[in-house]
Symmetry: C2
Subunit: 253 residues, 2 copies
């Protein structure tokens, strides 16, 4: 069974032009070409096209798609991978929708209050779910910890990774609220937050008191981390460092 270009176009929803393009760049050569130059596709090509379109949905570039499909030995494995990435993307959109929901709630609140913007300075969370990386990058300052988290991340689905990032951001915001409320770094609530952070860390890799202090200092010294903290609230980076200092001294000695 073989189909000409227009037929494939109708079945798949792409244009004939696109199919020609995919042939041009070598991404999807037809099964065979007639003596008249016509392109004919068979089932294998349709399957490949489906995979291409799925990857394209995910924003993968055509050349990248080519490499992925070339490397992949087992079609079933590849499809399973695509499916899980689709679901992860779905979850990401879900998270985005939640962020928008929060913005809506805030806007409704401030409309009721009458004052234009009630939020303590946290524009950062307007964008939750849009930024990725950030953490992995900066973690290089702590090699063993970086390795441990990397291994951990490898076992998690993308959705779980995203969820973890949201949790960390939420923690930072709670800390910012405590700081804004004027709580000293040795206040119980603050130390409880730090404790939660520490437990999350220790779960992946043992962390000594001294290491924990080093991480605290990195909140201020590391470019990216400090920037992330300061963007949420000015002074948050040092606040976090000092809170960790107290925690390490009083509870990890």
């Amino acid at each position: 069974m073989a189909w000409p270009t227009a037929e494939v176009a109708r079945m798949s929803g792409v244009t004939a032009r696109t199919l020609r393009h995919y042939d041009e760049v070598g991404l999807l050569p037809p099964a065979w070409i007639g003596s008249n130059g016509y392109r004919y596709y068979e089932e294998r090509q349709l399957l490949r096209l489906q995979q291409i379109l799925v990857l394209r949905e995910l924003g993968v570039g055509l050349t990248e798609i080519g490499r992925v499909l070339a490397e992949q030995v087992d079609e079933l494995d590849a499809l399973r991978g695509h499916r899980s990435r689709l679901l992860a993307e779905r979850d990401r959109l879900q998270g985005l929708a939640e962020t928008v929901s929060r913005t809506i709630a805030e806007l409704e609140q401030s409309r009721k209050d009458g004052n234009p913007m009630t939020s303590i300075n946290r524009p950062e969370n307007l964008f939750e779910g849009i930024r990725p990386e950030m953490y992995q990058d900066s973690l290089r300052d702590f090699p063993e910890l970086a390795e441990a988290t990397e291994q951990r991340v490898a076992t998690m689905s993308e959705a779980e990774v995203e969820a973890g990032q949201r949790q960390r951001t939420a923690q930072m915001i709670r800390l910012a609220e405590l700081m804004a409320a004027g709580r000293p770094v040795d206040a119980d609530e603050v130390q409880a937050e730090i404790d939660a952070q520490y437990r999350a860390l220790a779960e992946m890799h043992a962390v000594s008191a001294e290491e924990h202090r080093a991480i605290g200092r990195a909140c201020v010294d590391n470019e990216q981390w400090r920037a992330a903290y300061e963007a949420i609230a000015p002074g948050l980076a040092t606040y976090q460092r000092d809170a960790i200092e107290v925690y390490a001294t009083t509870r990890l000695s």
Copy 2:
């Protein structure tokens, strides 16, 4: 509170270059520009940026985004709209993932059987969830019905529309299976399928026996419809038409 470019870039995850670009094209002018030419953004701009990014996620072009944001009077309404579109997109991805799941299942089946492709010739459903329109377009041959469905569609969420399309495709496939199994068009199972189709139609707009026959003939005569049926299985278009003929004669007279 005002932020310079880099700060906004870090908060939102876009690059400074992008922000400059959005200014250039008039999509997101900064709140004000310093005497030194520096761009400064305030909360309103951040909110707008969030909306821009959400729409961009949905594949809307920048100029289109500009128009949408310009027309929108109430920010809250707009945000609610974005959220629902995000959720619809999420559902679409879900549907896509399901399509991939089906392909996986089929492939696993054929791998067990040992024969390379066991599916009755139905490449069409490889792409479910990727194609839109098709039906609306061809329905123009039946003006009142077209209008009725149009009104109906307007009251449904995008997810519901998608679901409807999937259902119709599923119906077509069931019919193809009955045909492949050699059932005559007046067999009970076949007539039951047609009955389900008829009820779905009649729910939107009264359909007389003669009109129903006309729709049946359109399955063969209308370019797009016939193509859609034939792509699933050769002969399906006439099979459907004949089944409708029988149905109209025996049950609608």
